[in-house]
């Protein structure tokens, strides 16, 4: 299958117009010695044949399990209107809105997305997205280092361990000192955190809810940090923000997170949506595209990409970040999601998650030999301690049709018997009851 429109005759006519005798003449700049040593690619196939191949591949994935797997990435409901709107060719076959007169749709949706993110997080400005929540955290570190002129970053152990690993990789060759503070009783250990802060510290990173699902009020950490000129970066979960204290309310300087939960499918890890929001005074340190309102030559309102003097295509090696292509279509999906769910819908979704999680927590607590880890306030995710290896148990539950959760031992040595369990509005009471019964049954074996 090829998507080329021109026929052989048309190609000949065009070659003639160029004064060339053959297609080969177009490639004369490539000397013989640089021709490919091999190009062993299979023959092309029809749409019908390829579809059959790919459908077969899809069927080999266990996407039918009743899932309680979370860990920062959640199986939320996605209204059909999102796919219908985001798959309009005018949106998804466009590129970065360099020509604002032809791109008011994209630019306005970015502006609305920026507004949504600020209203959710309680912050003042947002960019148009970065790759994912982990990249957003790393970029926030760079912002803090630039803004403070300091080079030490403190990370709470409750921050998603995958994000911590990403920050580690990205800062490997830079003179940045990373210091992780282990979580002791389910929440950020204030004593150890305060001990770690010093005059070289640029930023403190916390996450709410943290990786164990526990919610916290980080106001005290913010106050302490600000008294020492340290910025606070809070990574957060946008659906939870309908109910829990926002980064804005606690006084955080930068809010980040992954917007996957806002109408973006799990899709085996991406594309997702890194969001970043901050205070006005830090806007010029922010990476990525930003849409702003302005006027046209006739006094009509319209949108443009703005504050571009921060960016790589203008500043080259002096840019705040190297990001160019971002996750625009995912940001559009989030914008549509938040518009559809709206003020009440998002709150209701969050309440469903919260209530089902608490119901499930009580249900599992009642099973002999299962304990809830540090019984603290949670949103939609919590940790249970099992009388056996959590990885082994998760394996047994797969055979029974459940993705039981995420065994913590992989990232938290010593916690091999602990399982992180997440619930969304998509799970029913029946799912939860059946899960609890099956789990109890599995433990008896």
């Amino acid at each position: 299958m090829s998507y080329i429109a021109n026929t052989a005759n048309e190609q000949k006519e065009m070659l003639k117009a160029c004064g060339l005798s053959s297609i080969d003449a177009l490639f004369e700049d490539i000397p013989e010695r640089l021709k490919p040593k091999s190009f062993n690619i299979p023959h092309g196939k029809s749409e019908l044949e390829v579809s059959a191949t790919i459908e077969k591949m899809a069927s080999r994935n266990y996407s039918h399990l009743t899932s309680f797997l979370g860990g920062g990435f959640y199986d939320h409901f996605i209204p059909a209107a999102i796919d219908a709107l985001a798959s309009r060719g005018e949106f998804y076959t466009a590129y970065t809105p360099y020509q604002p007169e032809l791109s008011q749709g994209t630019l306005q949706s970015i502006y609305e997305y920026q507004t949504d993110i600020c209203r959710l997080t309680g912050m003042e400005v947002s960019n148009a997205s970065v790759y994912d929540g982990g990249t957003a955290l790393y970029e926030a570190c760079q912002m803090a280092i630039n803004a403070t002129g300091r080079n030490r970053i403190i990370i709470d152990g409750g921050v998603n361990p995958i994000y911590r690993k990403m920050i580690h990789t990205h800062t490997l060759n830079l003179s940045i000192e990373l210091c992780e503070v282990a979580v002791t009783h389910g929440q950020g250990d204030r004593e150890k955190i305060f001990e770690a802060l010093n005059k070289d510290t640029a930023a403190m990173i916390v996450q709410n809810p943290n990786f164990f699902g526990v919610i916290d009020d980080h106001s005290d950490i913010v106050n302490k940090c600000h008294s020492m000129g340290i910025l606070v970066i809070q990574s957060t979960y946008p659906v939870a923000l309908a109910l829990i204290k926002t980064p804005g309310e606690i006084g955080a300087d930068i809010a980040t997170g992954d917007g996957q939960s806002l109408g973006i499918p799990l899709s085996f890890g991406g594309p997702y949506l890194g969001f970043m929001a901050t205070r006005k005074k830090l806007a010029r340190k922010m990476p990525g595209r930003i849409s702003g309102l302005t006027m046209d030559t006739q006094g009509r309102e319209g949108f443009v990409l703005t504050l571009q003097a921060r960016e790589q295509h203008i500043r080259r090696e002096k840019a705040t970040s190297n990001i160019c292509t971002n996750q625009a279509l995912c940001a559009l999906r989030a914008n549509i999601y938040l518009s559809l769910l709206g003020k009440e819908g998002l709150k209701e979704t969050a309440r469903l998650c919260l209530n089902k999680a608490l119901y499930m927590k009580e249900r599992l607590k009642a099973i002999p030999n299962i304990k809830v880890y540090e019984d603290l306030p949670v949103f939609n995710e919590f940790v249970i301690r099992l009388p056996m290896d959590a990885g082994e148990l998760a394996g047994m539950m797969i055979d029974r049709g459940f993705a039981a959760g995420f065994p913590l031992g992989r990232y938290y040595p010593g916690m091999e018997n602990y399982l992180l369990v997440a619930v969304t509005e998509k799970r029913t009471k029946h799912d939860i009851d059946l899960f609890a019964e099956t789990l109890e049954d599995a433990l008896c074996q």
Binding site: A5, I41, L266, V304, R316
Partner: protein
């Protein structure tokens, strides 16, 4: 302008959720509770659908018409790739599933697609291994710079500089700087449009960690001496990077691996037909030669003896995690489907037609527009508005006048080394009549530049807004719709 926040009506709902089927008495404890509701909109589903449909009508994509944005490869995106990548078996697959014990067996279809794509990209680029994790071209550049740093560190090389041609994309110097390197520009030979070899010899040395090249470069010119360049660099153990932004020109015609490039990134959203999404998501897989394989990010996909696929994290020299999981998976999947559809001969036809289309435009416009490098170009051609500037008409005016004639403008004012540049990349999927229509629009604009330049200064007049005041946008910093307006 009809901002969505102005349309909100208290009490309207766009989604109906199931009734809570568990006891619903719980509240977040007060200490942790949000003080006031997030002031999101309140709209019905049809309100939302009409709003975003209206926005889409103020947009322009490849599906609308010709989009010759240079360096961006705005080719047609086959619809079937969208459909297949959206299938439940892929779309609802949780990325942590394979991290469960024996969990890779639960995601064999997804892992097989990634494994196969890696191997196809190896063969297309002549490299020894690939990672699909980088989530955009610039992310691929950064990943490769980190791999180079790990390589030099392991060998105990003390290297501090990265050499980059002055015609390069802005992401190149920016990525090198963010990886911790000092950037040194290398000039382009103004006669040939290729990298100045003499200047390279002067700048390169033991301090050089890497050299980043784009071939064909941003002038659309293929550098025939590219193997000599890699040879010079390797004398100093400098690693040579191939920016694959322009790979659409050379599929089946040239492989960076054969010219001894050490690392390469490809843009799946350019060369391999995945949509640009209004600015993303993209995908920028990185390929490397044998000596760099150990430094690739984890996880890596391996095939076991029993023909099943697994994720392997056991690479002690790896730079670590550059993405949370396996990259922009569904973008990778679409590119995989695209390659299966086209096959070897289809990919070769892509480059042949992309190059033919670019040359056809170049030759059709060489009388009307200044051509800084008049020779056979590759997949894109660079014109200059120099002649039109004599009448006060700039590249920007030409771009805006094209909009009124129904076309997306080319990239303007880039590459930086060409004054008043118009960088035109037609891609292979455009038909002769589309190109002819574009060519006559360009000729018409050239004629108007002489006869009625004022008309061009006013363009565009057919769009929902005319030219916008960028200075005002920076000054007023209105980046968020304020609260308490009609709410």
């Amino acid at each position: 302008m009809s901002i969505i926040f102005k349309k909100s009506v208290p009490g309207r709902r766009g989604v109906r959720l199931p009734k809570c089927d568990v006891p619903a008495s719980t509240e977040i404890p007060e200490k942790y509770r949000r003080l006031s509701d997030a002031p999101l909109v309140e709209l019905s589903e049809i309100d939302v659908v009409r709003h975003f449909t209206e926005l889409s009508l103020k947009n322009y994509g490849v599906d609308t018409n010709f989009y010759p944005l240079g360096s961006c490869t705005m080719k047609y995106n086959p619809k079937v790739t969208e459909k297949l990548a959206g299938m439940e078996g892929f779309a609802s697959l949780h990325p942590l599933l394979p991290q469960l014990r024996h969990g890779d067996l639960l995601t064999q279809g997804a892992l097989a697609a990634l494994y196969d794509l890696e191997h196809l990209l190896r063969e297309i680029c002549g490299m020894d291994a690939f990672t699909l994790q980088p989530m955009a071209g610039a992310h691929g550049e950064l990943t490769a710079m980190m791999i180079f740093a790990a390589y030099h560190n392991k060998k105990g090389n003390k290297k501090s500089e990265v050499l980059i041609p002055d015609e390069s994309h802005g992401t190149n110097p920016s990525s090198a700087a963010i990886a911790g390197y000092e950037v040194k520009p290398v000039p382009t030979n103004r006669e040939t449009g290729a990298l100045d070899l003499e200047a390279l010899r002067q700048k390169i040395g033991e301090q050089t960690a890497a050299l980043m090249l784009t071939n064909p470069n941003t002038l659309g010119i293929f550098n025939s001496d590219v193997d000599k360049i890699t040879e010079i660099a390797h004398k100093y153990d400098a690693q040579v990077y191939y920016d694959g932004a322009n790979l659409n020109a050379v599929l089946g015609k040239f492989r960076p691996g054969d010219a001894d490039f050490d690392a390469v990134h490809v843009n799946l959203h350019k060369t391999f037909g995945t949509p640009h999404g209004g600015g993303g998501p993209g995908s920028g897989p990185v390929g490397v030669k044998k000596h760099l394989v150990d430094f690739l990010p984890i996880s890596r996909i391996v095939k076991r003896d029993d023909a099943t696929y697994a994720l392997d994290y056991n690479y002690p020299d790896s730079i670590g995690y550059i993405a949370p999981f396996y990259g922009n998976f569904s973008v990778c999947l679409k590119a995989y489907i695209y390659i299966l559809l086209l096959g070897a001969e289809g990919l070769i036809e892509v480059s042949e037609n992309a190059v033919l289309n670019a040359n056809y435009i170049l030759h059709s416009l060489k009388k009307e527009y200044d051509v800084p490098y008049l020779r056979t170009c590759m997949h894109e051609c660079v014109l200059s508005a120099k002649k039109q500037v004599e009448n006060g008409v700039h590249a920007l005016d030409i771009a805006k006048a094209l909009i009124d004639r129904g076309f997306h403008p080319p990239t303007t004012y880039f590459p930086l080394i060409v004054k008043e540049a118009l960088m035109i990349e037609p891609t292979e999927t455009e038909s002769k009549e589309t190109l002819d229509a574009f060519i006559s629009a360009m000729k018409d604009i050239a004629e108007k530049a002489a006869s009625n330049p004022d008309e061009l200064h006013k363009a565009p007049v057919t769009t929902p807004v005319s030219r916008l005041d960028e200075t005002l946008a920076v000054k007023s910093m209105n980046l968020v719709f304020p609260l308490d307006v009609n709410e």
